[in-house]
Structures are given as structure tokens and as C-alpha cells.
């Protein structure tokens, strides 16, 4: 298959992605000195490390990831959060920004509350722990929550956060992007809708060249339209 000009060809599980001398990175495996793709995605080589960037798949928590979680259960000293991954993620009372008495957890977070937090640790059997002991971490009140494919998150954020800050500047929305594909938006109705539209565009056209410009154009064009009074 040809990579139609400015696009790179996709690799399919089992496809050879490199020979001896290269190291297997995420999304690949080695067998008999050869490297093969383990996932459907785009081949990437950097400093002799070959990896496959997946085009689909579920979110797998990694230490340090900023995620947006929803409280699904409350224990006497912890909350259980759904972070859009195959694993339930507990947030212990001592990892919250509050002084939580034993059995008093429901005073701070209730079932259905949404928070921005970080992955504190993931062990070898994928037990996840969350923490709110970071500057960004907070309870998210109001706003809307949307979900995109976790494989598209890097595109939504952009290089050094360029994409998300562009949307923030143009729409004057507050935006939090979680590595788990959840995005929280807050602002007035019109700008939230605009920001959501821009994010959908990014998700649809994640691999397009000049995406930032396309997003800027979309928002600016939409912003010029007369406001419905």
C-alpha cells in the first residue's frame, strides 16, 4: 500500500517493523532478532527504538498520567473511580487535598462527582492508585464532560499543549484533558459548544497535516457568525 503522499503507511499485527540492531518499543515484540508489530498503528523509529503508535485501543493507566475520573463507589477511607480503563482506580483519603476522617469520605466527594487527578502508581498486576496531591488536581464542578478515543489525546493536546491552548484562547473556555480520553470543558454555552466542535474535528482528522490551522479556521469562522440573541 502507498502512504498516499504525506501519510505514513499503517502496520498490521504480525508485520515486520525492523531487523537486528533495533530495540522493540511499545506496540512491538521481537522474535528471533526480528521486530514485529503487535498492534495496528503507525510505525515510529527513534534512536534505534521502534514503536507502533496505536490507532485504536483502550486506555491503560500509566504512572503520572493526568486523568479525569468519575466517582462510582465510596469506601470508609477511599473513593473508587472510573477512569475509563479496564481497571477500577481507588483514591485514598490521604491522597486527597482534604483531611478526611475515617468514614467521612462522602462529605467531600459523592458518587457521580468528577475529578481531575493523577495516577500515583500502577503495579505489575495493574493495581492502580490515584492521587490529588498535585497542583492541577481538583474537583470539577459544572461544565461538560466529553470522551474521545485515548489514542487521539496527544493530538488534542498538541505539541507542548499548543492545540489545547489554541482552543482555550479562541473560545475562552476552561479545558482539562485527561490522558484517558476524557475532556472537561467549562465556559458560556456558545464557547463550550464551539470548543466541543473543535475537539470533535481533531478527533476525526487526527492524522491530518495542518490540523492546528484547520481548527483555528473553524473556530474563527464560527465566531464570526452572528450570535443568536
Amino acid at each position: 500500500m502507498q502512504g498516499s503522499g504525506s501519510l505514513r503507511p499503517i502496520v498490521i499485527p504480525g508485520e515486520a517493523v525492523g531487523g537486528p540492531g533495533l530495540k522493540p518499543g511499545p506496540g512491538t515484540y521481537s522474535e528471533g532478532g526480528q521486530l514485529f508489530a503487535a498492534q495496528l498503528g503507525i510505525r515510529n523509529e527513534h534512536d534505534g527504538l521502534v514503536s507502533v503508535i496505536p490507532l485504536s485501543g483502550r486506555y491503560l493507566p500509566q504512572r503520572g498520567d493526568a486523568v479525569i475520573g468519575e466517582v462510582v463507589d465510596i469506601g470508609p477511607s477511599h473513593w473508587l473511580l472510573d477512569i475509563n480503563s479496564p481497571y477500577p482506580a481507588p483514591l485514598h483519603g490521604t491522597e486527597s487535598p482534604w483531611r478526611v476522617e475515617f468514614g467521612d469520605t462522602a462529605r467531600y466527594l459523592k458518587v457521580g462527582d468528577v475529578i481531575m487527578c493523577h495516577v500515583l502508581s500502577v503495579d505489575e498486576i495493574k493495581r492502580v492508585q490515584l492521587t490529588m496531591q498535585e497542583r492541577e488536581a481538583r474537583k470539577l464542578n459544572g461544565g461538560i464532560l466529553m470522551e474521545v478515543s485515548p489514542t487521539k489525546v496527544p493530538r488534542v493536546i498538541g505539541k507542548q499543549g499548543s492545540m489545547v491552548s489554541l482552543i482555550k484562547d479562541l473560545t475562552r473556555c476552561q479545558i482539562y484533558v485527561g490522558q484517558n480520553g476524557r475532556i472537561w470543558l467549562d465556559g458560556d454555552d456558545r464557547s463550550t459548544a464551539l470548543a466541543a466542535m473543535a475537539i470533535r474535528l481533531i478527533e476525526e482528522r487526527a492524522q491530518a497535516v495542518g490540523l492546528t490551522e484547520a481548527v483555528r479556521e473553524l473556530i474563527e469562522r464560527a465566531a464570526k457568525e452572528p450570535r443568536p440573541s
Binding site: 498516499s4 504480525g14 493536546i157
Partner: protein, 276 residues
């Protein structure tokens, strides 16, 4: 009483020129159509038409395994449900799992367990659903082939796609990919699934009798056909993902940005997880 033993012998399944009932030669496959990503809600999906077979496959996961006591702390479960629609066969099939579909589900899930990197997802399950909408012999091979594409579409890490094909014996001749009449009135049917890259066999069953020579011949036919099917699977996945990529370009032709001179290939960083 009628002598039903002679019925099959009166029917010519393969003629003197080596043509079968549907005009195929002994080593020809039925026409195959395969499409990836046909369902919105599933993590991955595929639809396959293989001769008279119509099969839909959907994959979910890795997701939390339920019930909890089935969870394996070391690896993911690969679970499969093969199901035939009541209208898939000429006599209405009584809905629900029966001995046959439970067996097929088991052998298919075992075939996939050997290619999926299950250790990467402890305590989870990868669920594969195969729905046979129309059956015409060889549904387990069609289901397995479609499910393998659905797994790749779901982004589940695995060693390779699994390709599958059956061969059997009709009127004493070893033939590839039996259809319903050949399966019903033939002498043997032998479904096979292989990992094409390494040639490993992950599923092998046989209904009827084959001599060891015939068996060898049947295996050669199946393995050769599996490689052809493998190409169709890869094509289906490429079509699914390249179409989205091409559509993207059609809808939004590359905008000239000062940072990206025209014709330049996107750099490594363009796709990578970017610094945050």
C-alpha cells in the same frame, strides 16, 4: 425401508473434469468479502461474506472481567461466543447455546488465546462475539477470520492475525473450502486455523475420516488458502484505516502552514505522544 446409504453415492459432487457442484476446482476458494470496523459501539468489528456464509464479529476490551472470580491475576481472559441466528439455516435453529456452538466458542477462544498478548492485561477479559447470520458450511472458519480482523481493529496487541480455512474430501477427492452440499454429502471436513507468519496451527478439527496422505494434502491446501485469506484480512484493515486517512485529506486538504513546507513528510513527532 429406503436405503439412504446409497443417496450420497448417486450424487456426483465432483465431475470427471474435476469441477465441483458450484464450478470450482479442488483448490479454489469461494468468493470472499471482508470489511473491518462496521459497528459503532464495539471496540472493534468486522463483517465477512464467504460464499453463502454471512458472519459478523465484534470485540470488546480489554475490559474488567465479570464475574470477578473468573479474573486471572496474571493474564487476560480471551472469551468467545459463537452464535447462530435462528434464521441462519434452512430449518429454524433453536436460539441459544447448544453443544455445537459451545464447542466452537471454546476452540475459537483457545485459538485466539495463543496469539493475544494476554499478559499485558492482567485481570481483564477480551470478549469476542461471532454472530452467524447465514450459514453455508465453514462458519467457524469465517467467524474466526472475521474475529481476528475485529481484534486488530480493536487495537488488541497480538502476535499476528489468525487466518482460517477448511478442506475436506468429497467423492474421494481432497478439496478446499467445502460448501454446504459438499459438507453434508462429502466424506470428511477438516477446519484449520494458522498463524500465517510462523505457520503455527491454532485450531484443527476433523469430521469424518482421512488417510494420513489425504490429511497431509488437506493441510497443504488449507495452509495455502489461509495465506490468501491473510492477505484479504490485511487488505480489509488497510482499507478501513487508509480510507479514514484519505477522507481526512479529501475533506481538509493540507493547509499551508509556515511550519510545514508542502510535500514534506510529517516528522516523527507528528504522530508521537507529544510533550505535555
Amino acid at each position: 425401508m429406503e436405503d439412504i446409504e446409497h443417496f450420497a453415492k448417486q450424487m456426483k459432487l465432483i465431475d470427471a473434469d474435476g469441477r465441483r457442484l458450484d464450478g470450482r476446482k479442488f483448490n479454489e476458494l469461494r468468493p470472499i468479502r471482508l470489511e473491518a470496523g462496521v459497528l459503532r459501539r464495539a471496540d472493534g468489528s468486522a463483517y465477512m461474506e464467504w460464499g453463502g456464509n454471512k458472519v459478523l464479529a465484534a470485540v470488546y476490551g480489554p475490559r474488567e472481567a465479570h464475574p470477578r472470580h473468573l479474573q486471572d491475576p496474571a493474564r487476560a481472559l480471551v472469551q468467545c461466543r459463537y452464535n447462530m441466528a435462528p434464521f441462519s439455516v434452512s430449518d429454524r435453529k433453536r436460539p441459544g447455546p447448544d453443544r455445537r456452538s459451545v464447542e466452537i466458542s471454546k476452540v475459537i477462544s483457545e485459538a485466539f488465546s495463543s496469539v493475544v498478548f494476554a499478559e499485558q492485561f492482567p485481570r481483564t477479559s477480551v470478549d469476542i462475539f461471532i454472530e452467524v447470520l447465514q450459514a453455508d458450511a465453514g462458519t467457524r472458519c469465517a467467524g474466526l477470520t472475521a474475529a481476528s480482523v475485529a481484534l486488530a481493529d480493536a487495537g488488541v496487541p497480538m502476535r499476528d492475525l489468525v487466518a482460517s480455512c477448511a478442506s475436506g474430501k468429497i467423492d474421494g477427492v481432497v478439496c478446499l473450502d467445502l460448501n454446504k452440499d459438499e459438507d453434508n454429502f462429502g466424506d470428511a471436513d477438516c477446519p484449520t486455523a494458522v498463524v500465517p507468519r510462523t505457520g503455527e496451527i491454532v485450531l484443527l478439527q476433523m469430521d469424518g475420516h482421512l488417510t494420513s496422505d489425504e490429511f497431509e494434502k488437506a493441510m497443504d491446501l488449507s495452509i495455502d488458502a489461509a495465506r490468501r485469506i491473510y492477505d484479504l484480512q490485511r487488505d480489509a484493515l488497510r482499507r478501513r484505516y487508509s480510507v479514514t486517512l484519505e477522507d481526512i485529506l479529501k475533506e481538509s486538504p493540507p493547509v499551508q502552514s509556515p511550519m510545514q513546507p508542502e510535500g514534506r513528510l510529517p516528522s516523527e513527532d507528528d504522530f508521537g505522544p507529544e510533550g505535555i
